[in-house]
């Protein structure tokens, strides 16, 4: 369904068994403890989880340093395999910090056993399909190249006092 390469791929090993690592993503008591930036708090009373294919996860984040910021997260879960996989579309709305506009993004988290009772997470994230157009092959690569070029251009512009 989503054959394209993700724009973001993160691999991370957690020092915890797979069942616990999976619970950390699917149990609201766990998620409230770690999800989000350091100064953010999840309102535990407002968390609603129904973890199954076709289910959802919902919560609200408040930032300690910016009390007026209220970010609402709604994840529509498209695929869930207990202990193995969590996939869905995350909708981010509410009063977002700074200049961020509401958006949605597809993500997939896979859980794998690692030696020593640890767990490897493979996290992938896609910008929304309508953002990437029909031919996404290579755009991220292109972005990297251009980014490098632009840094040079901007450094030049700064030197010239522009």
């Amino acid at each position: 369904m989503y054959p394209d390469e993700p724009q973001l791929a993160i691999s991370r090993v957690l020092d915890a068994p797979r069942t616990l690592a999976f619970r950390a993503f699917t149990d609201p008591d766990h998620v409230a403890k770690w999800w989000g930036p350091i100064d953010s708090t999840l309102l535990r009373d407002e968390m609603e989880f129904d973890v199954r294919p076709g289910g959802f996860q919902r919560w609200t984040v408040v930032a300690a340093s910016q009390p007026d910021v209220r970010v609402r997260i709604r994840i529509d879960l498209t695929d869930v395999a207990d202990g193995d996989l969590l996939e869905g579309v995350m909708h981010v709305t509410g009063r977002l910090p700074g200049d961020i506009e509401p958006f949605q993004t597809r993500f997939r988290v896979e859980f794998y056993d690692e030696p020593g009772g640890r767990t490897r997470l493979e996290i992938r994230q896609w910008v929304p399909a309508h953002l990437t157009g029909p031919s996404t092959q290579g755009w991220l690569e292109a972005l990297d190249q251009l980014d490098a070029t632009l840094l040079d251009v901007q450094a030049g512009a700064t030197d010239a006092g522009v």
Binding site: A16, G98, L146
Partner: protein, 117 residues
């Protein structure tokens, strides 16, 4: 950061190799459609169409001086596209650091519980 419609136009404009080649050229210097067409295996009208897409995505601006219309690379739109994914990279890394600490704490408590009769 611009809205998703604007990002949508940027990503879709960048999906085309010819348009990326044009941006690479413009990263060096401003250029007219004639100058841009020279190294490319396509006609000026075809290059013009690509320039319109890039302009619509705010990746370039075009100025008219005399009869020449030069295209200029606008770096802001490109930065926004890159920032979009960078923010998520940072977001995950921060959250996963917190998750590490949380899991360590949870398991330490579990071990203590098991020691108690």
């Amino acid at each position: 950061m611009a809205g998703t419609d604007q990002l949508s136009r940027v990503f879709s404009a960048l999906a085309d190799p010819t348009r990326r080649a044009i941006l690479d050229e413009l990263a060096e210097r401003d250029a007219t459609v004639t100058e841009l067409s020279d190294p490319l295996p396509m006609t000026m009208p075809a290059v013009s169409r690509h320039l319109r897409v890039l302009e619509h995505a705010a990746l370039i601006s075009r100025t008219r001086s005399g009869k020449w219309r030069a295209s200029h690379l606008e770096t802001a739109a490109l930065r926004e596209a890159a920032d979009w994914m960078e923010r998520f990279g940072r977001f995950w890394n921060t959250s996963l650091d917190r998750l590490d600490a949380h899991l360590a704490a949870v398991q330490a408590v579990d071990r203590l519980d098991k020691k108690e009769p």
